[in-house]
Homo-oligomer: 150 residues x 2
């Protein structure tokens, strides 16, 4: 009734629900655009891959998964033609993982879908509140990462 009525839902769930909604929307959107061979777990690779290419170990660190897990995801993405691996001329142990043309198309599509979701949310929530939400999340992340260092 009152504006102070306690929501039974806990903060964890309140963050999870919109997060999963975004993942579902991107997944769905990519499928309808013909990218049918991707799974949500692969997104994290795209999120961290550098335009010039990245090493597997870097990707694993940034995504906070083991390099074996990263390797498996990269193998799949390579088999599907989204990324390629070249030997690193500066390090004989290492390979450079980078997007193919198709990979860049996929990334573009994902960004477009995300923009559309953000736009919908901005329409219904108001531009100002969405911007505010993003700024608060950004600040929250900064202090979480601060805490993780210590």
């Amino acid at each position: 009734m009152t504006q102070n009525q306690k929501d039974r839902r806990m903060l964890g769930a309140m963050l999870r629900i919109p997060f999963q909604a975004i993942v579902a929307r991107i997944n769905e959107g990519l499928r309808t655009r013909g990218f049918t061979d991707l799974r949500p777990a692969h997104f994290v690779i795209f999120q961290h891959i550098h335009p010039e290419g990245s090493h597997l170990t870097e990707l694993a660190e940034q995504a906070q998964i083991t390099k074996q897990s990263a390797g498996a995801l990269v193998d799949h993405l390579m088999a599907c033609g989204y990324i390629e691996r070249l030997p690193d001329p500066n390090d004989g142990r290492a390979k450079i993982v980078r997007l193919t043309e198709r990979g860049r198309e996929l990334e573009k599509a994902a960004r477009e879908i995300l923009s559309q979701v953000e736009q919908e949310w901005a329409e219904q929530l108001g531009d100002e509140r969405l911007t505010q939400l993003k700024q608060t999340l950004k600040d929250l992340i900064a202090l979480i990462e601060e805490g993780a260092k210590s």
Copy 2:
């Protein structure tokens, strides 16, 4: 440099990071309090279990997983003594899943840990902004759930 500098991080990741931070904190906190046999996947059961007890099928629906998955999680929680199953006197097919005393202790502990995290965040972000964040998330969830119905 400027306040308008574009954050490379996408909204999906911005929601995921604090969500995962909460999950990690609760997981960690429960461990140090002696609840060592739980995994994050079990949280979703606790989140939806009704004080009077719930049916497995209800839990599965609310948690948005199959009843087989819910069944496996419940089996584990039962083996660890957090929940119990009684035959439903009103329905011979059904069983009532409800918290044991230990289950209620666990739930209490989890809420305390979450409160502590929220308090920390409130201290660093300001009470007002945290409240605002929760309200925005709540509104966002409402419109996501609205959209899901259609």
